[in-house]
């Protein structure tokens, strides 16, 4: 009887061990906060030390897409960007329509999954900011292009922060080059008690890992 039981156990033991391996196999993120990813990329030919003033449109733009965008945190986003830009020595130009600026910083939210594509970007939706009027030739219908290859795909609700260089020569393809771009993946895909905290820490990390910025 003992031997029969022993035999049975050893017939099923290999299968049981493999089953235990599968059941104990480690899983990935256990909360949305653990999927937060901060990516920054920049044009390494550009001298960020020459920037003195920046313009920051009081709008959080929406990228093309069909999903609803959460604008509850727009003020927080713009305030955090301004706070961090000022902290590294850049000065906000409050009247760029008259005085221009060395760089334009924009914030936008993805309305669909989006891939950063070299030579590509967003198009045609940013005409709502009058500050572009300082730079002759720029207007509605223009877009951003990234001078870098594919960096990754970001989910709906990603917050993008970009530094555009409208002082660059006019592009016949109606494109403004991004000199620096950051993505805070999916941070606005849902709204919860910790969304504000994730935005604050995410924007801080954007600037922390961009040590080449500043004067």
């Amino acid at each position: 009887m003992i031997k029969k039981t022993g035999r049975f156990i050893f017939y099923v033991l290999p299968g049981l061990l493999v089953l235990v391996m599968f059941s104990c196999y480690p899983s990935g993120p256990s909360s949305s906060g653990e999927t937060d990813v901060v990516i920054t990329a920049y044009d390494s030919q550009f001298n960020f030390g020459n920037i003195h003033t920046y313009a920051l449109p009081n709008i959080v733009f929406e990228l093309e897409g069909t999903d609803e965008v959460n604008h509850d945190f727009d003020d927080l986003i713009l305030n955090e960007i301004e706070k961090n830009m000022n902290a590294i020595g850049y000065v906000r130009e409050n009247n760029p329509l008259v005085n221009g600026a060395d760089i334009v910083v924009i914030a936008s939210i993805g309305r669909t999954d989006q891939t950063w594509v070299g030579g590509g970007g967003w198009w045609g939706w940013w005409g709502g900011w009058p500050g572009w009027g300082y730079w002759p030739g720029y207007g509605p219908g223009w877009g951003v292009w990234y001078p870098w290859p594919v960096m990754g795909t970001f989910s709906t609700g990603t917050l993008y922060v970009e530094m555009l260089d409208p002082n660059d020569s006019i592009d016949t393809d109606q494109r403004i080059p991004a000199r620096w771009a950051a993505a805070l993946n999916g941070v606005l895909s849902s709204s919860s008690d910790i969304t504000a905290q994730r935005i604050v820490s995410g924007i801080a990390q954007i600037f922390n890992q961009s040590s080449y910025l500043g004067r």
């Binding site: 003992i2 031997k3 022993g6 035999r7 050893f10 017939y11 033991l13 290999p14 061990l17 493999v18 391996m21 599968f22 104990c24 196999y25 480690p26 899983s27 990935g28 993120p29 653990e34 999927t35 937060d36 990813v37 901060v38 990516i39 920054t40 990329a41 920049y42 044009d43 390494s44 030919q45 070299g118 001078p147 870098w148 290859p149 960096m151 990754g152 795909t153 970001f154 989910s155 993946n185 999916g186 990390q205 890992q209 961009s210």
Partner: protein
């Protein structure tokens, strides 16, 4: 290279991958069984063990793990001499950990750019050693035996990094060696208890970072060995 994982897809992927690896491992074991078929049943043992592994150097650095309790191995040993066996060994060892360090990416040329990526990285190593081995035993086959052995073959190593919604994985076959030291104690009913220490070393092959590094870890194995008479 870049994919969007979700739990279901990850599980399906892991099961598919494991099935493929186990199929290969089983094929090798079956081949070994056929080769050793002329031997009497009592001249061969099968070993099933649970493995606790401690990664070293690059394996530890990549996986961010210092010990793993996720490991199993199946082994077959045929005796062609009272104190010498030849056999086949297949295992599955998992290492995993996480880190939030920033990854720096840099390119050169006309479109030169630099990028930094920060987030909680979940890192995994699935190691599947498949080897032929040779063991020498000290002591009578009727009593407790100490043994020393060497395995040679391959270690299939899959490295995977999950970061936010993207994942990157890389699988390589490494030439590998595994020296082993252990002992076997008869428990009766043609069954023995077994404990051993096995050092797995996978020679350098291109890894997920694009560079060539070896993998190595030490496994403490606890298991049972039985011969065919056990089932009759």
């Amino acid at each position: 290279m870049i994919e969007k994982p979700d739990d279901k897809r990850k599980l399906e992927y892991a099961m598919k991958k494991t099935t493929m690896i186990l199929t290969k491992a089983i094929s090798i074991i079956v081949l070994a069984l056929v080769l050793f078929a002329p031997l009497k049943a009592a001249d061969a043992i099968t070993i099933l063990s649970w493995n606790i592994s401690f990664p070293f150097e690059d394996t530890k650095e990549f996986s961010q793990d210092s010990e793993s309790f996720l490991g199993v191995a199946l082994e077959y040993r045929a005796f062609f001499h009272p104190n010498i066996s030849i056999g086949a060994y297949a295992g599955w060892h998992v290492f995993n950990g996480d880190t939030t360090r920033t990854i720096h990416v840099e390119t050169e040329g006309d479109n030169a750019y630099k990028a930094d990526i920060t987030g909680k990285q979940f890192r995994y190593i699935n190691s599947f050693p498949i080897m032929l081995n040779l063991h020498y035993y000290i002591g009578s086959s009727r009593g407790a035996q100490a043994y020393i052995g060497l395995g040679a073959g391959t270690m299939i190593i899959e490295e995977r990094v999950e970061l936010g919604v993207v994942a990157a994985k890389h699988t390589r076959w490494h030439i590998a060696l595994a020296p082993e030291l252990g002992f076997k104690i008869p428990l009766g009913y043609n069954l023995s208890g077994l404990a051993s220490v096995k050092y797995h070393y996978a020679f350098p092959a291109k890894r997920i970072t694009g560079e060539k590094y070896p993998h190595s870890y030490l496994s403490i194995n606890i298991g049972f060995a039985w011969d065919q008479n056990f089932f009759y």
